[in-house]
Symmetry: none
Subunit: 412 residues, 2 copies
């Protein structure tokens, strides 16, 4: 048996998205509708009823972990998603390349994303990884897509209880990191962050990549903003719980990172970008190939959420139609349906009118030989409200693995 | 955006209520049916599936608190609902004025509610608040509606782990309070309760209010029964969680108290009694007025539960019809439906055949622009079982606030 879990980020919507329909309901999705006919639908609260999920906490919950017990912050998933070797005691951060202007008062934030820089980031990352801090804390920096990156600090007695240095608003000064608890480890971590940020500015401002950007009239990536301080969460690997091996195919580091934290193996699909320009056929083919050596694959698709944050209803609808045609279509052609179960859902709702995550449940679809089918003939939020599976919280993956008779027994 | 949560106490019923229909199903409710057509229905377990709720624990859960973590007992909500200034360390009680007869064995209970006394209670309360206890514990007593009141004890090292002094049965002796744990604070609290009850009898038996009652052939309110010992629960204020300000409109002290404990502001509606004789148009108007300065209002209606406890099916049905016509009708006329969400539900089921709370889920209705509508055309228990929102536990208010984009994000 094989299993495929597909999470389309921010899939859910509201009737206000498109003339009384959600983007998903308005989209032409013949393949998802066919799977709905072959399977069954339900409503899924990613974390719990009325709880507005972050992407990281929602993914923990969908993979079967309790985010209230296990979540330590976002940075560690960014580092794990970039194949950094996070050890207990390390403190990790999500990092942004950003543009600042030096003023007598401090570094003034001009662009939080350094013009969504598209090239040269790995050279900048190498320069940042060479930074040496006076208190002996070791530094490792990796660039991800565009302005995104991850920072790992390693040293004695560090703490994740530090404030972020991303003011989330241009025209303000980049704040100093500070300890959030009265603890020498937190003070030491904040000091390391502040020294790193100062040195990052000194190194980046005259870096050849940035000299070329300035000449080309682009904002230089001359500082690093840090948020999501976190250490390694205690997650019992899925392979240990279920006795099966999984792979993750995801363009964006965060989602790879959550899956890797749960013990899945990262497999890269050529052309997967973590954006709307991603190659969805490539992701499906990579997943099908991975199923030759893994028991299950988790495919993450990010573009739905991006278009929700952009408040672009037509763009979200079109991307859902591409998911249906390119990703689901390719998977449907390649899976042996007598020997496989598939789940399709989102990690939260991102309505167009709001442009951010909201707490409504998402629709979920299970298809395969062991699913008790219902009367569904289409896939969507309100179809899922009439679905045969009812409504529950989290655990999309454990439920999928159970259809393959892989779930561990609790009790005897 | 604005939001209104309406909880009709003990709303739910059973098919045995009225010839195969629940009181709610049998009632003529054109306004609730119209809201059902505009919105969506679900089944709500106030605390959890198969858990038979108290009114206090159910309300904590509906407001978004976990009653298993936060509930300390009923008395503190009675005190808060009477605008008493409860501080950490205080021990609070629900109190009943009752009628006893002195016997050589002790105080024999004749009437648990002192003939549902209707006047003079505040004079009695003032006399009780003047009681001085030998161990230095301070006393504050307030009368609520009819025989109901609240007692607050303040002093060093008090404990809520004490037994109640309400035998819940006439013809038996009023028991002594005793410590439920081996702890000097609990012993001290029980001693204070026993001295208070003795002194309350001494003061009340010859009080002019009671001399007049005896002359009129009514049972005197000559003692106070204490139950629901509790201290201040740790509840993070809703305003702090969601960044919005709420008001509560409720005739009965307990429900005001739970809302005040969650940080809402008490607003009194003229003619609101906490009974079936309450002025429902006044409550709706008061709520609409409150929405001019508050973000959301919680309206509590008690009469449905009273009629359920009375096993009066026709009375419960009629009161539901009054809620529909007077409360919902007035709200529907006054709300701006493009800018508001409304939720209507109960805090538990009070079936006629049982006359007490039962554990079946209650129907819940959400209406407003961001609700994913379903096929419902009427409001009722079995209509809700076919509703598009499925079934979940508690958190009626957080789900309502999310529709207004007010929910805090967990994770990033």
């Amino acid at each position: 048996m094989k299993a495929v879990l597909i999470i389309a980020d921010g899939l859910g919507g509201r009737p206000s998205d498109l003339d009384g329909k959600t983007c998903l309901e308005a989209a032409h999705t013949p393949n998802l509708d066919e799977l709905a006919r072959r399977g069954a639908l339900g409503l899924l609260d990613p974390i719990g009823p009325g709880i507005r999920p972050g992407s990281d906490t929602a993914h923990l919950s969908l993979l079967g972990y309790d985010p209230y017990r296990s979540y330590t912050g976002r940075g560690v998933f960014e580092c794990l998603g970039m194949e950094m070797d996070v050890k207990p005691g390390d403190v990790c951060f999500r990092a942004n390349f950003a543009t600042v202007e030096e003023t007598p008062e401090g570094l003034l934030l001009i662009d939080r994303r350094a013009g969504r820089i598209e090239s040269g980031q790995s050279d900048l990352a190498a320069a940042l990884s060479a930074i040496e801090l006076s208190n002996g804390v070791k530094v490792e920096f990796k660039a991800s897509t565009q302005h995104r990156g991850a920072l790992l600090l390693r040293g004695e007695g560090l703490s994740r209880h530090v404030s972020e240095t991303d003011p989330h608003k241009t025209g303000t000064l980049v704040p100093e990191a500070r300890a959030l608890v009265d603890d020498p480890g937190a003070a030491r971590t904040a000091a390391a962050m502040n020294e790193f940020i100062r040195k990052s500015y000194e190194i980046l401002k005259d870096h050849p990549v940035n000299r070329a950007r300035i000449e080309a009239g682009k904002p230089p990536a001359n500082v690093v903003l840090l948020r999501g301080a976190s250490d390694l969460p205690h997650l019992k690997p899925i392979a240990e719980q279920y006795g099966v091996r999984g792979a993750v195919v995801a363009g964006a580091a965060l989602y790879r990172g959550v899956a890797v934290a749960g013990g899945m193996t990262r497999i890269d699909a050529p052309g997967a970008t973590g954006g709307v320009d991603t190659d969805l056929v490539s992701k499906a083919r990579t997943a099908l190939k991975a199923l030759e050596s893994f028991d299950y694959v988790f495919i993450h698709v990010k573009g739905t959420d991006n278009k929700g944050h952009d408040r672009d209803a037509e763009g979200k609808k079109s991307f859902i139609e591409r998911i249906d045609a390119e990703l689901i279509g390719t998977l449907m052609g390649g899976l042996d349906w007598k020997e496989a179960h598939l789940a399709f859902t989102g990690d939260h709702t991102t309505p167009i009118d709001y442009g951010d995550h909201s707490a409504e449940p998402v629709p979920i679809l299970y298809a395969g030989p062991n699913v008790r089918t219902d009367a569904a003939t289409e896939f969507g939020e309100r179809a899922a409200g009439r679905g045969g599976l009812g409504r529950w919280s989290g655990r999309a993956l454990p439920i999928l693995l159970n259809y393959n008779n892989w779930a561990p027994k609790f009790g005897s």
